[in-house]
Symmetry: none
Subunit: 204 residues, 4 copies
DNA sequence: TATGAATGAGAATTCATTCAT
DNA sequence: AATGAATGAATTCTCATTCAT
C-alpha cells in the first residue's frame, strides 16, 4: 500500500489519507468498475458512509486520485526538463522522470490505462487528458530535436507512440512482484527512447 | 458502425451479424463493463432475450469478438511475415499488417486496451494473451535483427514497447472521424519502427 | 419413459403421446417449476412451438397429465372396490389398487407430492383435489369398518393419514432404480393399513 | 403471520425477524420457487436490497429457515423421547412433540413438503434429510417395540409411513384458519399411531 | 402443420448513495 | 463526525409464449 501525504499529528495517516491510499490500491487492482466503495472503505478501515464525507462520489474520488498522481508526475517531469538544454535531453529527462515517478507512485500506469475505456465519460476524458498532455510535451521535443525535419503530425505521433510504449512497459512492470527498481527499467527505456530519436533523425 | 460478415440473401445483415456489429461498437465505446446487453440488443434492434440465442453470456460474446478480431489480426500478420526474409523485414511486415488489420477491423485496439483492467479475470487473461502474443513475435524479430546484441530482456521490452506504442497510436486514430486511411498512418508507423530498429542496432 | 395411450397406425407413438410421456418424465424429475417447455419438447423430439398445438399452456399440460393419471388411478381403485364387501376389504382393495396403479403409472406420486406447493394456485388446487378425493374415499371406509365408533373427524384424519403415508412410501420407492415391484411393496403397505384398522377398531 | 424471536427494545420485531417471518410465510404460501425475494421484502416492508444484508441468497434464506425449524423440531422431539422408557412410549412422545412443535412453529410442514421437488438440488437434499432423520428415529422405535419381529425394511417403511401421514395431517391442519389447537389434533394422531403399533405387533 | 427463432416480462443479485442514530 | 444499515435502480439471464416461414 502506498502511504503518502498528510498525517495526523500523532503520526498515523489521517482518515482521508487512508482513504486515498486504499482507493489507489483498489482501483489499481480492480479497475474503475471493479472497484467498489465498500472495498475501498474496508481497506481503509473506515465506515462506508464516511467515504462521502471526503468525496462526493466514487467518480470524484477517482478523478481526485488521478489529478494528484498526474500532478506529481507533471511536477517531476517539468522539474527534470528544466535543467535540460536541447530537445533530446528534454525528452530523455521527461521519460526518465516519468518512469521514476510512476514507479514511486505505485500502479498509476495501470490505473490510467485501465480506465481509459470505462463507462463514465468524465473519467475517460480526464484519463485521456493526462496522456495527451504528456504526449504533447514529448511531441514538442521530437519536433525540436529533429530540427523541424518531421511534420507536426509525425512529431505528434511519435509523442503518442512513446507514451503508449511507456504505459505498456510500466503496466507490465507494475504487475511484477516485487516492483522492479527504476534502475532495472531505466536503461531499457533510455535505450528505446534514444532509438526513436536516432531513427527519426537519420532515417530516410 | 462496422458492417461485415455474412448477410441474408436479401442483403440486410443477418441478425447474428447485427448483434456482433452492435457488440463491437458498444464494447468499444463503453468498455467491457460499461457495455450492457440491453445496449447491445437495442443497437442491433433485437430483443434482450435474443442475445442469449447467439451467445451464452455477455462475457462469451466479448471473448468471441476478441477471438475473431485477434484471429484476423494474427492471420494477417503471419501472412505478411511469411514473405519477409530477415528480422527487420519481418518486424516491419508485422507492424504494417497489424495496422492495416486494425484499421480494417474497426476499434479493436480500444476494445483490447480498454478491457485489460476489467473485473473479470477471464476477460483480462484473454486480452493480455492477445497483446503478449504479438509482443513475443516482435521481440523475436528484435532479437534477430540485433544479432543477439541485445539481451532477451531488452528484446522483450522492445516488443512490448512497440505493441504499446501501436495500441496508443491506433486507439487515438480510431477515435477520429473519419477513420484515417492506412496510407496516412503507415508512413509514421514505419518511421517509428525503423527508428527503434536503428536505435537498438547502433546505440551504445 | 412411460409409453402408453394412442399410437399412430404405424405403431410409433403419436406426437401428442410423445409429448405427454416426455412431460410426465420431465415434470417428475424436475418438479412443476423446474420443468421447462423446452426440456419437454426436446425430450419428445418435437419443436418448441409445437407444444402449443397440443396444449394451450404449460399449466394446462400439467393439469391434463394430472387428470389422466388421476383418472386411471380412480378407475383402478373403484374397480377394485366394486368386488369388496365390507369396509376393511374396500380399504385394502383401494390401497392395493392405488399402489399398483402408482407403480404402473410411473412417478405419479412424486409429481403429485411435488406440485402441491408450487406457485400456481390452479395447480395446487387440482393436486389437492386428487389427494382429497382419495382421502374421502378411505375415510368412508374407516367410518364403515369401525361401525361408527370413530367420529367423522377421526375417520377423515385417518383417511388423510393413510394417503400421506402412502404418498411418502411411494415417493421414496419411486426414487429407487430399478422401481420396486408391487410385490415388494404391497405386503408392507397391507401390513400398515391393517395395522391402522386394528388400531382404530380396538384401541381405547 | 408468525411473529417470534428477538424484538427491538421498543417491542416491534427487529428487521431481521420481520424478514424471517415474511420469508416463512411467503415460502409456505408459494413454495420455494414461487416465492420471490421481492415478495418477501415487500411483506416485511423492507427494501429489496436489504434482503441481502441478512442472507447471502434466497436459497440460503430458505435453508436457514429450514434449519431453524428443524432444529426446534428435533430439540422438542429428543427432549420428549428422553423421558420415555420403551419403544412405544418413545414413538408416541416423538409424534406428540413433533405435532406440537409443528403447530407452534407454523407452516413448517407445508414448507418442507412443498420443497421436496423444487429445481434446486441443495434445497431438495436438505428437505429430504429432515424427513429422513425423523423417519429413521421412528423406524428405530418400531423395531424396538415389535421386538425385532418386523424386518428392518418393514420398520423403515413404518417410519416413513408415519412421517408421511403426519405431514399430510399437519399440512391440512395448517391450511385451516384458525389453526387447530394441539389439543384438537393430538388425540387423533395418538390414536393413529397407537393403531399402527397395535397392527404391527399383532397382525399376522 | 411443424418449426425454432424472437420476444419481453420478470427474477436474483449488486452497489452507489443516503440517512437515522 | 462517524457509522453502517437501508435503499432501490440497474444488470444479467431465463423461459413461457408467439409468429413468420
Amino acid at each position: 500500500m502506498v502511504v503518502s501525504g498528510m498525517q495526523s499529528p500523532n503520526g498515523s495517516p489521517s482518515r482521508r489519507q487512508r482513504l486515498v491510499d486504499a482507493a489507489h490500491d483498489v482501483f489499481s487492482e480492480s479497475g474503475y468498475d471493479g472497484a467498489t466503495v465498500a472495498a475501498i472503505t474496508a481497506r481503509a478501515n473506515i465506515a462506508t458512509g464516511s467515504f462521502y464525507r471526503y468525496f462526493p462520489s466514487k467518480q470524484a474520488c477517482f478523478l481526485d486520485l488521478l489529478d494528484t498522481l498526474y500532478g506529481e508526475l507533471m511536477r517531476a517531469v517539468l522539474a527534470a526538463r528544466a535543467v535540460a538544454t536541447d530537445g533530446e535531453a528534454k525528452l530523455l529527462a521527461s521519460v526518465e522522470a516519468a518512469v521514476a515517478s510512476f514507479l514511486a507512485q505505485g500502479p498509476l500506469a495501470r490505473l490510467v490505462a485501465g480506465s481509459r475505456h470505462g463507462p463514465e465519460p468524465a473519467v475517460r476524458a480526464r484519463v485521456e487528458a493526462v496522456a495527451n498532455e504528456m504526449a504533447r510535451l514529448l511531441a514538442k521535443d521530437f519536433a525540436e530535436l529533429t530540427d523541424g525535419q518531421r511534420s507536426p503530425t509525425e512529431a505528434h505521433a511519435a509523442g503518442q507512440f512513446l507514451v503508449g510504449g511507456l504505459e505498456k512497459l510500466l503496466d507490465s512492470a507494475l504487475t511484477q512482484d516485487p516492483l522492479p527498481s527504476p534502475g532495472a527499467l531505466l536503461p531499457v527505456v533510455r535505450q528505446l527512447t534514444v532509438g526513436m530519436v536516432v531513427g527519426l533523425r537519420d532515417v530516410r
